[in-house]
């Protein structure tokens, strides 16, 4: 067609006009730290595995998850999910049920019998892990993944540590525990159970190149309580351990538990299941100050366990004990009131916290300890080169997830130490806050509440209390994730650019800015739901 000069123009000819020259700022795609990831003691990349799960790729999501943590099914039951406490979605409606999805993925992997391949290349290094609890198992898993030969030794007869001997079955069914540990075994990790290590140096001399200590904190703290000789006073850890070993202690019909932590809740709920007609928890402060996880307190209360908040035990007799009521002073500290009450009690179980039993280490006096724990440096190494430590025995929160995180961190540093390199973790402290998100774009979708076993049924046996999500619910819940700080390919940037200056690279590949045309208006940044684009100065 003949085009009259100047008045009639060829289509698309403006592509010659590179409007990018107008720009003073340009958008840039970034990966920022989602608060969940930031809060995860095991360093999981939660946003990432949720993203993968969102389209139903559960195996891929599980494989992404276990890069950081080999125990999704366990985590999905026992982790106190600090991730959910910081989830930005809580400000919109409710937190994403990360823990429930993690459990779904873990259970999915068990159901599908997914395995973890043995390492392709053997490093030739040998590492001894002492303690088969969360930290030790996590370290063994990661070390084995890196190609090291790993041996785990533990004095008990079955691996799991506190996961087996502290956490009751109604919270963590043993087939779940066994399945996830078994997977680690199948990677080629050697377990030497019923094997006590008395001398770490001797153990090192057996030909191990490095050693990871994770013996936990299994010694119950004692409090001085005047008691008559006939008083039956038990130690919570031993009670729980005994239940697991089948050596059930006689608790009587009326049981009092002293303490406000998770172990107190666990032992109280266990006592109930063992047949106690009345179980009372005595704690000297208020519920909001109690270290126990709130869900555990709720579940305990649901099961009919009574709690005497703001109370201390003054004296214990054979069938009764005396408590004193406390009152909070102006600083919020409990102070004695002089008011007393008598409770009937066939036994008193102390759950006042645990200490590290360094005697387990026998002849290891040259390892520094401080305030009852073993200090480690930033690489989790003790004062002795090549000996690393983690879990409850080092200064940190004493949770399964923290232990798992220690195991991973120690493994990566042991690996680096063995290879004479340094493990450097890129610190990303750029945590996405709620106000940085454009939450308009997320559909209104309240949190799915996990079904729980009826409270009246719970006390009858050790059946699992909290039920898992089915696939539909898990998918829904995963899709509630706002993907803070990371692109989830909603196409907003691609669509809202008035200059068509966004290039869509295809599924999973994200986007690129076409700087030839981007004028730097910033709409893509403003309309990015997940705060994954930022404006940066150009030129």
């Amino acid at each position: 067609m003949e085009k009259p000069f100047a008045i009639t123009l060829a289509v698309n000819s403006s592509l010659n006009n590179h409007t990018g020259s107008w720009r003073v700022e340009k958008p840039e795609y970034v990966h920022r730290m989602p608060p969940c990831n930031s809060a995860c003691p095991a360093g999981e990349n939660i946003q990432n595995w949720l993203y993968i799960a969102e389209d139903g790729s559960y195996e891929a999501a599980w494989r992404a998850l276990i890069i950081e943590n080999p125990f999704p099914a366990i985590m999905g039951r026992v982790c106190y999910h600090p991730c959910e406490n910081v989830c930005n979605r809580a400000e919109l409606d409710q937190s994403v049920g990360i823990n429930s999805i993690e459990r779904f993925l873990g259970d999915y992997a068990i159901e599908k019998a997914l395995t973890i391949p043995a390492p392709a290349v053997e490093s030739g290094f040998k590492v001894l892990v002492i303690g088969a609890g969360p930290a030790g198992l996590s370290a063994a898993y990661h070390l084995r993944s890196m190609g090291h030969s790993v041996t785990v030794r533990d004095a008990t007869h079955a691996p799991g540590g506190m996961m087996r001997y502290g956490i009751p079955q109604y919270r963590l069914p043993r087939e779940v525990l066994d399945a996830e540990i078994h997977r680690i075994k199948d990677m080629g990790v050697t377990f030497e159970m019923n094997t006590r290590v008395d001398d770490v140096h001797e153990a090192l001399d057996e030909g191990f190149d490095a050693l990871f200590l994770a013996i936990g904190a299994q010694l119950s703290k004692r409090a001085y309580i005047p008691a008559s000789e006939a008083a039956r006073i038990l130690d919570a850890i031993k009670v729980l351990h005994g239940v697991e070993d089948g050596t059930q202690p006689l608790l009587g019909r009326k049981v009092v538990v002293y303490g406000g932590g998770n172990t107190a809740m666990d032992v109280a709920r266990t006592a109930k299941r063992l047949g106690a007609q009345e179980t009372i928890i005595v704690y000297r402060r208020t519920r909001d100050k109690a270290p126990a996880n709130d869900e555990e307190i709720t579940e305990a209360l649901e099961e009919g366990i009574l709690v005497k908040w703001l109370s201390t035990i003054k004296h214990v007799d054979e069938k009764t004990l005396q408590i004193e009521k406390m009152a909070l002073d102006e600083n919020g500290y409990p102070q004695p009131t002089g008011e007393f009450e008598t409770l009937e009690a066939d036994s008193l179980i102390l759950a006042l916290g645990q200490e590290v039993d360094f005697s387990l280490l026998g002849n290891s006096a040259d390892l520094d300890t401080k305030d009852g724990v073993m200090p480690v440096d930033s690489t989790m190494m003790t004062s002795h080169p090549g000996i690393f430590a983690g879990g409850d025995m080092v200064p940190a929160d004493r949770t399964v997830t923290t232990g798992v995180g220690h195991g991973k961190k120690a493994a990566r540093n042991i690996d680096a130490w063995l290879r004479k390199t340094a493990f450097e973790k890129l610190e990303n402290r750029d945590v996405v806050t709620f106000d940085q998100l454009n939450t308009w774009y997320y559909t209104d979708a309240p949190h799915i509440v996990r079904e729980r076993l009826d409270a009246t049924r719970r006390a009858k046996d050790f059946s699992e209390v909290v039920k898992g999500l089915d696939e539909t619910n898990a998918l829904f819940e995963a899709r509630r994730c706002m993907s803070c700080g990371n692109c989830f390919e909603c196409d907003n940037c691609f669509g809202v650019c008035p200059d068509n200056a966004i290039i869509k690279l295809g599924p999973g590949k994200g986007f690129e800015i076409n700087l030839d045309y981007c004028k730097g208006c910033g709409i893509c940044v403003a309309e990015c739901p997940s705060s994954s684009i930022v404006m940066v100065p150009d030129k």
């Binding site: 067609m1 100047a6 008045i7 009639t8 060829a10």
Partner: protein
């Protein structure tokens, strides 16, 4: 076929034979009978494959025509007077975009004061619009010029106004040899647009052009308009081959041989002038007539050549430029450049005032003796005008 027919009807029937595809109409006297005729032809399906659009203004009429023409349709409309002025913005746009729209202008005065009768103020106001302007002397020529106009317009991608005097031609019943369809079909090929809005071959028509290219665009359009000076005579001669009669062209001389005085005019007034001139020639006064058919582009060379033997030129105009005088004369002077031919302008027939043979003869007689002012208003009531001017001045 020879018919005793109203001018408007002759034009309507002829336009229909040109097979327009889009006709838009807005009523304004004295153009109405043309589109009324076409409306009936479309409605009765005598004219098929044609969309007749009753628009809400002349501005819309020309705008619809622009859209239709740019989409490759043969497009026609008609207007007059205020209507033409109301569409002016679109008139310029149509030519700027190079759209071969054919529009009849049933010439009529423009107000204020409002006046429905004939003069050339309307089309003359659009002489710079970039359109080709053809002026019909008779209804026969009016009909014939429309056939030629489509051909010229489409060949050049330029719009054409066919100007015919309102009432004097549009409403006059005369014998007209209305063209036969086969003749028109033989003369006028189907419209092949130079540029067209087509999803299969998209273009952007109507760009903004800045100082960097605007002059070139305007120069090109000027040169294209001028090229019609070749196309128009060719179209007329080919017309004669098929229709067997002479119609159209750039100019038409009458009794120019030996004429020392040449009277120049456009449109139907040429008939009256010829009658007067016939009598003067019979009285041995060497006078002839030059009718200008194509006023835009102005046939400067053809006029120069026609006037080469003249000693005196008298331009009779039905419009004028307030504040200076005649319009056509300004153009004719371009043809006279370098010569020493005297020129006189007679403004006549404004707002439908009859141009009588008697007044015309009196004027021409005096003019041939160089006894007239350079600018004369025919039959002006001078005393009335003078007293009103004095009254205004003395206020």
């Amino acid at each position: 076929m020879l018919r005793q027919v109203e001018g408007s009807k002759a034009v309507a029937d002829t336009v229909a034979m040109c097979r327009p595809q889009v006709i838009c109409a807005y009523p304004i006297s004295p153009q109405t009978h043309i589109v009324e005729g076409l409306s009936a032809l479309v409605k009765s399906e005598s004219l098929r494959n044609c969309e007749f659009i009753n628009v809400e203004s002349e501005f819309a009429a020309m705008s619809v025509a622009i859209g239709a023409s740019a989409t490759g349709a043969r497009t026609y409309t008609a207007t007059a007077s205020q209507g033409l002025l109301f569409m002016v913005e679109a008139v310029y746009n149509a030519s700027g975009l190079g759209l071969p729209i054919v529009m009849t202008v049933a010439n009529r005065a423009i107000g204020a004061p409002i006046n429905i009768w004939n003069d050339h103020s309307d089309s003359m106001s659009q002489r710079d619009s970039g359109w080709i302007q053809l002026y019909a002397e008779t209804n026969q020529e009016a009909a014939d010029l429309h056939v030629q106009a489509f051909r010229i317009a489409e060949e050049l991608s330029l719009p054409i106004m066919v100007c015919m005097d309102g009432f004097i031609l549009t409403h006059a019943y005369e014998r007209v040899d209305v063209p036969e369809q086969e003749q028109v079909d033989a003369y006028l090929p189907a419209y092949t647009p130079r540029q067209v809005l087509d999803p299969l071959n998209p273009v952007s028509i109507g760009a903004m052009v800045g100082p960097d290219a605007f002059t070139e665009v305007k120069y090109i359009s000027h040169m294209k308009n001028l090229s019609a000076l070749d196309v128009i005579p060719r179209a007329a001669s080919q017309f004669q081959e098929i229709f067997g009669r002479s119609s159209g062209g750039l100019i038409r001389g009458y009794k120019l041989d030996g004429a020392q005085t040449v009277v120049i005019a456009l449109g139907s007034v040429l008939g009256t002038i010829k009658d007067v001139v016939d009598e003067m020639v019979a009285a041995d006064i060497p006078i002839g007539v030059l009718g200008i058919i194509a006023f835009r582009p102005f046939p400067t060379e053809a006029v120069r050549s026609a006037l080469s033997k003249a000693k005196r030129v008298i331009v009779i105009e039905k419009a004028f430029q307030v504040g200076i005088g005649g319009i056509v004369i300004e153009n004719v002077r371009a043809s006279l450049r370098g010569s020493h031919i005297a020129d006189y302008t007679l403004i006549a027939g404004l707002g439908g005032r009859p141009i009588t043979k008697q007044s015309l003869a009196t004027y021409l007689d005096r003019a041939c003796k160089d006894a007239v002012d350079e600018l004369t208003f025919l039959d002006l009531d001078q005393s009335l005008a003078d007293s009103e001017i004095a009254r205004e001045a003395g206020r």
